[in-house]
């Protein structure tokens, strides 16, 4: 089979799984998941073969085809596939996570009433995500971009009977829409300047002066397209939907809201990286930096296990975006891949914890305790050993501990920010500070999560007794993903645990950029690598040590500290997520409601009641007047007047009708005589 056929199979097999589950799933029942598993399994096989292709040493993209979709006038839209190393690796990431999540879901949603529909939506999501990965043009990417938004909406609202889930999926959809509008405008600016949607074509167009040196317009277009990533990858200030999206089933959170869909924004930015001028990259770096530190601070105080991970995801996505912003293209994409593995593992492990908690609560008939609240957990290490060890590996990875994948990618990003500061100076000190600050906080809150959940004595012994490890279908994905969180996976054939040199760095080379001298950027990054690694090791161990102190040895009274910090409002600020939701509520939601109320007031009370009804009133009065004059004057006087006149004359002339023929004859004779007289007189 040639690569084009394989690309078609990769794209449409998950869609077939979607249609199969939707149309036949109910009839077949629980075993319908086999179709989805096999379909995604084949997709995974093909994705592996694509990545294997990389090692055959083929130069350039493996597949580059494009065909006309439709033409209206001079406007032609093409659809096509473009598979290079980046796309192949991304596709493998999607396929691995998707397959493992499918496997995991067979147990996690065992008794769900919409079991087959859930698998159908997973298929739809995988189809859409593969569409984004394979897309050769921004317009095709945009189409699938909206499709992942749709499947995300459907899956967040899987338990739509819960109001919180129904609200969360609406919030996700609408927030994404804000970013997508910017993205569409950006795509259109690029199209009208360069006449193509094709990403390679855009890059060529920009290099050959398609913007006539108008770098400001190009930067605006780039930032607008990047707005799509801000929405989809939950960057500040559009991050608000992602924590709420945790209302969806946990495997969905792992697949969509941790590993793949939210990384689509980063992937898209990776794709358009060559055409982003330095000023646009600056904006991107700042957005990423703010997101990274800001979400990390919020994650410290959250008590819901999934919400901690959600804010952690936002923070890590901020890292990737910041990496792209500072020109560390390779590091950004590297972190996307490593993050997908360890964050997928963390989410699935948290799902395993929630699953166990859920069963425990079910056993003791407790329906009020929150199974996701870490304050109800503790000491689960001995009850859920596989979950504990896999989650610990992923936590070490995300905290940036050597030997694990997160260390390599985070280190590369931090080196990128340091290099950026070294060349730009001034305010850019913010970027490394945000990076290292987020790193220390990440290490802290991730170990806080581990300690609160798995260590020390259980906080609710009555539930604790009923906890037990999750079944095979759930633990297998955890083990696989935790293995994929080790550093050596990404550095083969080298086994140096502190250097990212390996197959990944060889096959995802730095790409040219319109405004940056990539060679010098790379040199600067290599130069900053040593100091970045030292600092990041220090901050990671500092964060972990603090966490040990706070939550393991409990040498510090956390309650006392929070009350002290709360005297200046710091604790509440983090707990309430910097009041971003409240700010939006006050700045957008409520003014908007007020505005619509005002408009409805103007429309109803003034326009409708006064103006429109005024016309009614006027018409009524006019018709009353005209009716009065018609009846009283025209009818009573003129029309009846004729009647009365006729009656009057009739009464008078009646007297002439004597009934005596001779009188009539007399009249006739007199008349004739008169006629004669008149005729004679002329």
């Amino acid at each position: 089979m040639n690569i084009l056929t394989l690309a078609f199979i990769v794209l449409f097999l998950p869609l077939a799984s979607f249609f199969f589950q939707i149309f036949f799933g109910k009839r077949i029942g629980r075993n319908a998941h086999w179709f989805s598993l096999i379909a995604i399994g084949i997709t995974l096989g093909i994705a592996i073969s694509f990545v294997a292709n990389i090692f055959l040493g083929i130069q350039g993209p493996m597949l580059e085809v494009s065909g006309e979709w439709f033409t209206t006038g001079d406007f032609t839209v093409n659809l096509g596939f473009y598979i290079d190393n980046v796309a192949a690796i991304m596709m493998l990431v999607v396929a691995i996570i998707s397959f493992l999540v499918h496997l995991y879901s067979t147990e996690y949603l065992r008794d769900d009433i919409r079991y087959t529909r859930y698998f159908g939506y997973l298929g739809l999501f995988t189809f859409s995500m593969n569409g984004i990965v394979l897309a050769d043009s921004l317009i095709m990417m945009y189409v699938f971009w909206e499709l992942v938004g749709l499947s995300s909406y459907l899956l967040i609202g899987h338990w739509f009977e819960k109001d919180s889930a129904a609200n969360a999926n609406k919030k996700a959809f609408l927030t994404n829409r804000v970013g997508d509008i910017g993205m569409f405008i950006g795509i259109m600016i690029l199209f009208f300047q360069l006449g193509t949607f094709n990403i390679q074509g855009l890059a060529e167009g920009v290099y050959f002066g398609g913007f006539d040196g108008n770098m400001t317009l190009l930067a605006i277009a780039g930032v607008l397209v990047f707005m799509g990533a801000v929405g989809k990858s939950a960057q500040f200030p559009l991050h608000i939907w992602l924590p709420d999206a945790m209302e969806g089933p946990t495997p969905v959170s792992a697949l969509i809201h941790a590993a793949t869909m939210v990384a689509a924004g980063v992937y898209m930015t990776v794709r358009i990286f060559p055409i982003l001028p330095p000023s646009a990259l600056e904006v991107i770096a700042v957005v990423g930096g703010i997101t990274a530190i800001f979400a990390a601070i919020i994650a410290i105080t959250q008590t819901d296990i999934k919400r901690v991970l959600a804010y952690s995801t936002v923070s890590q996505l901020g890292y990737m975006i910041m990496a792209l912003g500072v020109g560390a293209y390779q590091a950004g994409f590297f972190h996307l891949v490593t993050h997908a593995m360890f964050k997928g593992c963390l989410f699935l492990a948290s799902g395993s914890v929630i699953h166990a908690m859920h069963h425990g609560l079910h056993k003791i008939n407790d329906h009020h305790t929150d199974p996701q609240d870490m304050r109800n957990m503790g000491g689960m290490k001995s009850k859920l050993p596989i979950t504990y060890w896999t989650m610990l590996v992923a936590t070490l990875a995300i905290s940036g501990v050597p030997l694990f994948s997160g260390f390599l990618s985070k280190d590369a990003i931090l080196a990128g920010t340091l290099a950026y500061f070294n060349t730009h100076h001034g305010w850019t000190i913010f970027l490394p500070i945000a990076g290292f600050g987020a790193a220390i906080i990440t290490a802290f809150y991730m170990f806080r999560l581990i300690f609160l959940t798995f260590h020390n004595e259980p906080k609710k012994p009555e539930i604790y007794e009923h906890l037990h490890e999750s079944p095979m279908a759930m633990t297998t994905p955890l083990v696989i993903l935790s293995i994929l969180s080790f550093a050596f996976i990404f550095t083969l054939p080298h086994l140096n645990p502190i250097h990212s040199e390996g197959w990944f760095t060889h096959n995802v080379p730095m790409v040219e950029n319109v405004g940056l001298d990539i060679k010098s950027v790379k040199e600067e990054i290599d130069h900053a690598h040593g100091s970045a690694m030292t600092i990041s090791l220090i901050v990671a161990s500092l964060g972990i040590a603090l966490s040990f102190l706070f939550y393991y040895f409990r040498k510090v009274n956390v309650k006392k500290l929070t009350t002290t910090l709360d005297k200046v409002g710091l604790y509440r600020l983090s707990l309430n997520k910097f009041y971003i939701d409240e700010i939006y509520d006050a700045l957008i939601y409520r003014p908007f409601l007020w505005l619509t109320k005002m408009i409805s007031h103007i429309d109803w009370d003034l326009f409708d009641q006064k103006f429109i009804d005024g016309w009614g009133w006027l018409t009524l009065k006019a018709s009353e007047g005209s009716g009065y004059s018609d009846y009283n004057w025209l009818d009573q006087k003129v029309v009846d007047g004729f009647g009365k006149l006729t009656k009057f004359f009739g009464r008078k002339f009646r007297l002439a009708q004597t009934g005596v023929i001779q009188n009539y004859l007399m009249g006739g004779v007199v008349g004739i005589i008169l006629i004669f007289v008149i005729i004679q007189s002329f």
């Binding site: 009934g659 005596v660 001779q662 004859l665 007399m666 004779v669």
Partner: protein
Amino acid sequence: MDSLNSYLIISAVLFTLGLYGVMTRRNGIAILMGIELILNSANLNFIAFNRFGGMEKLDGHIFSIFVMVLAAAEAVVALAIIINLFKNLDTVNIDNADTLKG
């Protein structure tokens, strides 16, 4: 008196007498007699105009004969009406024949 005028004068006198009778009498038979006078004055006119009007044909004569026939027929009908009137009302005074008056 061998001219048209003398005939016309006589005819006019006859007509006026007839008309006067018709308009003033209350007796149905008297009214009928007035009508006969009017018809005969017309007949006299027809004859006179035929004689002095220079007409070669006998149009006037024939017309007057028609009028006579008409007068005869009229007398028959009128007298029948008057007889019925008398039978019903015991009078020939036409003022009494007012039963249809509303």
